[in-house]
């Protein structure tokens, strides 16, 4: 698998978690070839008890998933979370992917009535802040799927 590439000057806040151009961002996961467990991030292995742990393969999760839950956070978390400005209130979504795993992330580009369980969402990025070189430091995020 290629080293992750993000469009333009965007740099992930931490490596090996997601990759892809804008509009095609995908979460990096891994699946055990023996017990079938899918985990995220790809480096935090989890297996069914007794599994031989053979054939762990890196995969990219589907770009699209369904909103399984969400919370709207009304306060800024402490460091090391860092954003350019106060982004509250902001939703954190829990998204179910077809690979059989639910992953949590910040939600962007939403309207109030998009926050409905079962709604299709797609993976994207969210710019947390710009570093001193002017590069956008990003995390993964979810937004309602365009119709």
């Amino acid at each position: 698998m290629d080293k992750q590439k993000i469009a333009g000057d965007k740099v992930p806040a931490l490596p090996d978690l997601f990759q892809g151009e804008a509009g095609g961002v995908r979460l990096r996961s891994a699946r055990c070839g023996t017990c079938g467990t899918c985990f995220f991030p790809e480096y935090h292995e989890q297996h069914r008890p007794g599994c031989s742990r053979e054939g762990v393969e890196k995969i990219l999760l589907n770009r699209i998933g369904k909103l399984a839950s969400y919370t709207v956070q009304h306060y800024m978390p402490p460091p090391p979370f860092r954003t350019e400005k106060d982004i509250t209130p902001y939703p954190i979504g829990m998204v179910e992917f077809p690979e059989g795993i639910q992953v949590v992330g910040i939600m962007v580009d939403y309207k109030e009535d998009d926050l409905v369980l079962g709604r299709e969402v797609e993976t994207t990025t969210f710019t947390l802040y710009r570093d001193d070189k002017g590069q956008e430091i990003v995390t993964w995020a979810f937004r309602p799927k365009a119709h």
Binding site: L14, F40, P78, P79, F81, I101, V103, V104, G105, L117
Partner: protein, 393 residues
């Protein structure tokens, strides 16, 4: 294995004590427990002490620091950590030391002084510490995890905002009556529903605070307990549980969970409580007093089901009918719960058992559960840590 009794309990009241050291708080709790058991320090034959995570090197060997104040006697001192179940690990270690026959009297102690403001990441390597990921990439304090599960529950069972608020109303009326509680004010449903939204759907008054406090328990071989007290409390089970593969709960620190459930929610707590029921030969229907970990209103509802006090999706009804109040089917958190005390990581699981002991001795005054014979303390800790203690008189 021998039968084991609790012969003494002691607390330092809960609150905020930034001017104090963890040693000062711990010493007061231990001194109170020694006095309660009418026992001399030199008679303690083993100590299990909860690690105080914010105390640097001293905190990691908290038991040694506490023992030095009372006078070092050469006994085994074991320092333990299991997140919010740390105090339970200390109690279980002390219990096992006596049950195994190695010693006759042992002390369990837990202390915590929370840092100011939010708890946050303690390392910066995401490859070995999941905490780094949740803080840096999503900005996710603990209540966000609880809110995600709470939303799922509301969607599944139709839990209402009033159901969540009612939990605080019930707990606050007990907090008023508990002299050791940090928050001693009763709230109405309307007041709780008007408290600020923190992590929608959870409001400020529906989430517990972080507090400072200390708790200590002295355990003794049951056949020697009468030397010290006329009111020994029997430990019928003292178990710990970890998570089971396939648990669908979004666990604090993790950013993912399996989509398909292959194990019960909060499986670590399910594991601990099921072990305890089996060992004690006691079921939820026999329990008079239940101290459960009410970190949020969601926990209060979910734990009633996880520990078998009602069926799936029935907790709201049980609460609406008053079945979880003093005089109901089971008195839940007649101490006022974490809601009135706040979390004190290393101390809270010991404190829950202290409250349960005080009920079984009949010393709770206006919040006393009449004729309480069986009490249970249920603990929850992040990343799959749990413990259950069942007590009888």
């Amino acid at each position: 294995m021998r039968n084991v009794s609790i012969i003494g309990v002691g607390l330092h009241p809960w609150g905020k004590f930034p001017q104090n050291t963890f040693v000062e708080l711990g010493v007061q709790a231990v001194a109170n427990a020694l006095q309660d058991a009418n026992i001399k320090w030199q008679e303690i034959q083993a100590i299990a002490s909860g690690i105080y995570i914010w105390g640097g090197n001293a905190g990691h060997i908290s038991g040694q620091y506490l023992a030095a104040v009372f006078g070092e006697t050469g006994i085994p001192i074991i320092n333990v950590y299991n997140a919010c179940a740390t105090g339970a690990a200390a109690l279980r270690t002390a219990y096992m030391s006596v049950a195994s026959g190695q010693v006759d009297v042992a002390l369990a102690v837990g202390v915590d002084i929370s840092p100011e403001g939010f708890l946050s990441a303690k390392s910066d390597n995401p490859r070995q510490d999941r905490d780094v990921l949740r803080w840096r990439m999503v900005g996710m304090p603990n209540p966000a995890f609880w809110a995600l599960e709470c939303r799922k529950r509301m969607h599944k069972y139709g839990t209402t905002a009033e159901d969540l608020a009612r939990v605080k109303v019930i707990l606050s009326q007990y907090g008023v009556l508990n002299p050791n509680a940090r928050y001693r004010k009763a709230y109405t449903l309307e007041q709780v529903l008007n408290s600020p939204m923190v992590n929608d759907p959870l409001r400020l008054f529906e989430i517990c605070a972080t507090s400072d406090g200390a708790a200590a328990i002295i355990v003794c071989a049951a056949d020697k307990a009468a030397q010290y007290t006329s009111q020994p409390v029997n430990i019928a089970a003292c178990t710990m549980g970890s998570a089971i593969y396939g648990d669908p709960t979004i666990r604090i620190s993790a950013l993912s969970a399996p989509a398909k459930a292959e194990a019960p929610m909060l499986s670590e707590s399910y594991s601990a409580s099921q072990q305890a029921y089996r060992i004690a030969g006691i079921g939820p229907e026999d329990v008079d007093v239940l101290e459960l970990p009410d970190n949020s209103s969601w926990h209060y509802l979910q734990y009633l089901e996880t520990c078998g006090f009602c069926g799936e999706g029935q907790a709201e009804q049980m609460v609406r009918e008053g079945q979880t109040q003093i005089g109901g089917k089971v008195a839940v958190c007649p101490s006022g719960g974490f809601s009135s005390f706040g979390e004190a990581i290393g101390a809270q699981a010991v404190w829950q058992v202290v409250e349960a002991v005080t009920q079984l001795r009949g010393q709770c005054g206006p919040r006393q559960v009449k004729n309480a014979k069986v009490a249970m303390a249920q603990t929850y800790g992040l990343m799959g840590n749990s413990a259950t203690t069942i007590l009888t008189v």
